[in-house]
C-alpha cells in the first residue's frame, strides 16, 4: 500500500469513528465535495466546530478564519483556485461578513474575487438575505444548521 493510500484509509477510518452524514442529506454529492477546499469564517467556537465536523464528514477539506479580516488575508495570500467556496458568518468582530465579502469581490485577481461565498446566519429575513446578495454572496446557510439545507446550498454553488 502506498503512503498516499494509507493516508486516505486513515482519513476514512477517522471519518467513520466520528460519525456519518445520513444518506438522505446527500444526493450523490459526496464525490463532488471530496477534495474541495472550503474557508469557514466564524467567530463562535460552537458554530465553528459543528460546521467543521459536518463539512469534513461530507468530504471537504476545511480551513477556518475567526473574522472577516482574517478571511480576506487568507484569500489574498492564497493561490487562485485554492478555495472552492467560502462560508461566511455575518456578525463578527474586526470585520463583518458583508464587508469581508465586498473586499474579496474587489480583489484584482478575478479567480479569487469570484470565489462562491455563502452567508451563514441566524437571520432568515428577506431584508437580511437581500443584504447578503447585495454584498456579493450567492446563497445562505441557516443557523442553527440544517444539514440537508447546508449540503443543498453547497451543491448549488459547486456544481
Amino acid at each position: 500500500m502506498t503512503g498516499r493510500r494509507t493516508e486516505e484509509k486513515a482519513a476514512e477510518l477517522g471519518r467513520q469513528s466520528i460519525g456519518k452524514i445520513p444518506d438522505h442529506c446527500l444526493s450523490g454529492s459526496e464525490a463532488a465535495f471530496s477534495g474541495r477546499r472550503l474557508l469557514l469564517v466564524e467567530d463562535n467556537i460552537v458554530n465553528m466546530e459543528i460546521a467543521r465536523l459536518l463539512l469534513t464528514q461530507a468530504g471537504f477539506a476545511v480551513e477556518t478564519a475567526e473574522n472577516g479580516q482574517a478571511a480576506v488575508d487568507m484569500v489574498s495570500a492564497s493561490e487562485a483556485g485554492y478555495y472552492h467556496a467560502i462560508l461566511m458568518d455575518i456578525q463578527m468582530p474586526v470585520m463583518d461578513g458583508y464587508q469581508a465579502t465586498r473586499t474579496i469581490r474587489a480583489l484584482d485577481d478575478p479567480a479569487r474575487a469570484g470565489i462562491p461565498i455563502l452567508a451563514m446566519t441566524a437571520d432568515a429575513f428577506q431584508e437580511d438575505q437581500k443584504a447578503a446578495f447585495d454584498a456579493g454572496m450567492q446563497g445562505h446557510i441557516a443557523k442553527p444548521v440544517d444539514l440537508k439545507q447546508m449540503m443543498t446550498a453547497l451543491e448549488q454553488v459547486l456544481r
Binding site: 452524514i21 463562535n44 456578525q91 441566524a122
Partner: protein, 113 residues
C-alpha cells in the same frame, strides 16, 4: 458531568442536537458545555443592565446561533423571542428584561445539571 438523560429531562431537544453532531454523543455534550460558556451570556447581561438595546440584540442574535445549534430549547426559545423583540431597536423595549431573566435562569439551570 452533564449527561444526555439530564439534558432530555431539562427539556433540550437532544435528538435534534445529536443529529446535528452526527450522533456523536461525546462531541455533542462537549458542544453543549461550550455553548453554555458562551461569553455572549455575559454580554447580554451587561447590555441589558446598561440599557443598550443594540448590544443586547447582538448578543441575543449570537446566542440564537450557538444555543440553537445544540438545541437547548429552554434557552433557545426566549433567546429567539428576545432577538425578534430587539431587532432594529435603539432603546430599551418593554418585556426584554423578563426575557433576559428567563434566559439567564435557564442557563443557570443547565449549568447545574
Amino acid at each position: 458531568m452533564i449527561t444526555l438523560d439530564a439534558l432530555k429531562q431539562y427539556g433540550a431537544n437532544t435528538a435534534e442536537g445529536l443529529a446535528r453532531c452526527l450522533n456523536n454523543e461525546a462531541f455533542y455534550l462537549r458542544m453543549v458545555g461550550m455553548a453554555l460558556a458562551d461569553k455572549n451570556f455575559d454580554k447580554l447581561k451587561e447590555a441589558m443592565d446598561a440599557g443598550d438595546a443594540r448590544a443586547a440584540f447582538s448578543a441575543a442574535h449570537a446566542l440564537k446561533g450557538s444555543i440553537g445549534n445544540v438545541s437547548l430549547t429552554p434557552i433557545y426559545e426566549p433567546v429567539c423571542e428576545l432577538t425578534e423583540l430587539l431587532r432594529g431597536k435603539d432603546a430599551p423595549v418593554p418585556g426584554a428584561e423578563a426575557l433576559a431573566e428567563r434566559i439567564m435562569a435557564a442557563r443557570e439551570q443547565a449549568l447545574s445539571l
